[in-house]
Amino acid sequence: GGSKTEAPSGTTGENGTSETEEAKGDIVIGCLQDITGVTSTLGKMVEEGAKWAADEINANGGVNGRQIKVVTYDTKADVQEAINAFKRMCTTDKVSAVIGPPVANIGIAIAPISEQYNIPVLHFAIDDRATIKDDGTPYKNMFLFQPSAKQQAAIMAQFAVKEKGLKKIGIIYNQSNAYSVSLVEPFKKVAVENGGQIVGEVTYQPNDKDFKTMLNKLVSAGAEAIYAPNYTQELILIVQQARAIGFNGPLICGLDACPPFPKLCGPEADGVIYINNITETEPQIQDIITAYKEKTGNDATNKFFLGYDVMKIIASTIEKVGDDPAAIRDAIENLTNYEGLTGTITIDPATHQPKGLEMVMHEIKNQAPVMLKRYSASE
């Protein structure tokens, strides 16, 4: 069905002609995602969400009468590919805005390069360095659209220690995965501040498939709960193997334990606590999930809604300020109280990160998520 990437045909033509045509023609939005690499689950979903939103907009007559066209380039989760693709979007395809990836490495690599173009990049790479420079000021074109790693980790830590009363926590994470790593330090800090104790910390490498030995180490160190901020494919193994060695306590996980994880993991998933941008049971979201499932046969995951919201934000911004990238950038920097599916979004001009965006803690019971508590990320 609609899963094929749109070809940028016609946009690669001579610059002069395409420019004048574009003024009246389609609005081109770049979408820089991993479509075939190791993180394609994430990238593909963002793209689908963005397209879904674009289709809705186009069906309703477009933006100021013009249609939105999404140009997706595959990064293969590779920095070099991503840089080339990004430059191509910005120079050859003349996009009005770029929807960036939810992958830290790519975000960090793109950030300094984005400085030379006046095109906003709306992304989800939660490592601070994808939005903020070493001197503490933000990259002028980079904008994060979900709570940062620090904020998410803080929420999880608070919830675990204060809400659930879990004091002794063991940590297992993929040392070669930037996302995984970025969620570890802030968690430790907040957990300890709130009276928790980190009883053990183990790491693993890309091709590791056997976590029993590592988990055993945590269990024998007395862990009541295990913090595992890892990608879904590894998370399944970790949870299953933790249960296999007889650990029955809660596992605290990041965004990756959201559906379809409970289904993939099976009964062992019960007792997993995780953070999410959305709650699937909300009616608005439920509608889209059903519609999307009907059309493609697939489940829309939380990344879908990130992509969806961002596309809508871009569209409404263009409606107000036109399709000049610089103008869009300025408007995005001052975005306030946009009511999206993932929460109420306000961008902090000082950090280019969202202020007070909500996250929701869930627990998996009987292989289904149960919403526990909403947190505002400003804490």
């Binding site: 394609s40 498939k209 590592m214 879904t232 494919q233 399944i236 193994l237 993939l264 993991c265």
Partner: protein
């Protein structure tokens, strides 16, 4: 506790072993490291998976289907990627390059076919672990260990004792002359590819059961490669021994040194091993004759 670690090590080793057998079989015959083996495992695991979820069949049937699929795809791969090279008798390095590319192709096909999602095999066993006192053994590990031993034993018997096995080995030394003995060389090579593909199918199903199924699952082939070199390239028995050793070492390293430095230690151990015993565990030390 330490016995548990050894059991875990052997369990991990048997995963590697099942990968290494098929891998080293091809090395045995055509003298190259077949890096498409990993992607082939993934591909046949997916075929098995879709069979399992649509037909709702027993494990045995799924394994059979996967093995058959793996074997057939492997033969097809031989035809498109290796046949020409075999016939033109060029150096094994070409096979190697071709195999990496073929692996990429398989992976690409899987990505297009199944999309970027994860899949999980349906549960075939009610209980997933066997408990012996304080020791826990996962059932699928146990089955995997047994089936890689069985596959190895059958394969060794086949290679060492049957006429096809002898033909296989003679083809590995000199294809042209093997033809002069009345051996249909292409058939024999296909046979080898079929067998190794079937082993890939077997490995794929178990990897799928034990782990999640996703397009890049085949990257694990690197472990099979390391195992078969430690075992002495081309010796199927050595490959299994090497795989168990590798699993054990990794587990011990993780336990005592931490996973972070495990690859560094593995590398150092490998260096020492190669210096002390460059022919591998099972390799015989035949001196080159001038």
């Amino acid at each position: 506790m330490s016995l548990q670690i050894i059991i875990n090590g052997l369990a991990l080793g048997s995963v590697y072993a099942i990968i290494a057998t098929g891998f080293s079989l091809i090395f045995n015959i055509l003298k190259f490291s077949n890096f498409s083996h990993g992607a082939l495992m993934t591909l046949s695991a997916f075929i098995g998976y879709f069979f399992a979820v649509t037909v709702n069949s027993s494990l045995l049937l799924v394994v059979a289907i996967s093995m058959l699929a793996g074997g057939l795809v492997s033969c097809l791969g031989e035809l498109v990627a290796f046949r020409k090279i075999t016939l033109s008798n060029t150096s094994p390095i070409y096979f190697f390059v071709s195999s990496i590319t073929l692996g990429t192709l398989y992976e690409g096909i899987v990505t297009i076919w199944v999309g970027p999602n994860f899949y999980n095999y349906p549960r075939f066993f009610e209980t997933t672990v066997v408990k012996l006192g304080s020791i826990v053994i996962s059932k699928s590990d146990l089955i995997m260990f047994i089936s890689s031993c069985a596959a190895l034993a059958l394969l060794m018997l086949f290679i060492q004792k049957t006429k096809f096995g002898r033909a296989l080995r003679s083809v590995s030394f000199d294809r042209e002359t093997a033809g002069l003995m009345g051996i249909d060389v292409i058939r024999i090579i296909q046979l080898a590819f079929f067998l190794s593909g079937a082993l890939a199918g077997l490995a794929g199903v178990f990897l799928g059961i034990n782990y999640t199924l996703y397009p890049q699952l085949g990257n694990l082939v690197v472990k099979g490669f390391i195992a078969s070199v430690i075992g002495g390239l081309g010796s199927v028995f050595g490959a299994v021994a090497g795989a168990l050793l590798l699993g054990l070492t990794e587990t011990l390293l993780i336990n005592f040194a931490g996973s972070g430095y495990a690859p560094v230690f593995s590398f150092l151990i490998m260096l020492v091993f190669l210096l002390v015993r460059p022919q591998g565990i099972a390799g015989s030390n035949v001196q080159e004759k001038a």
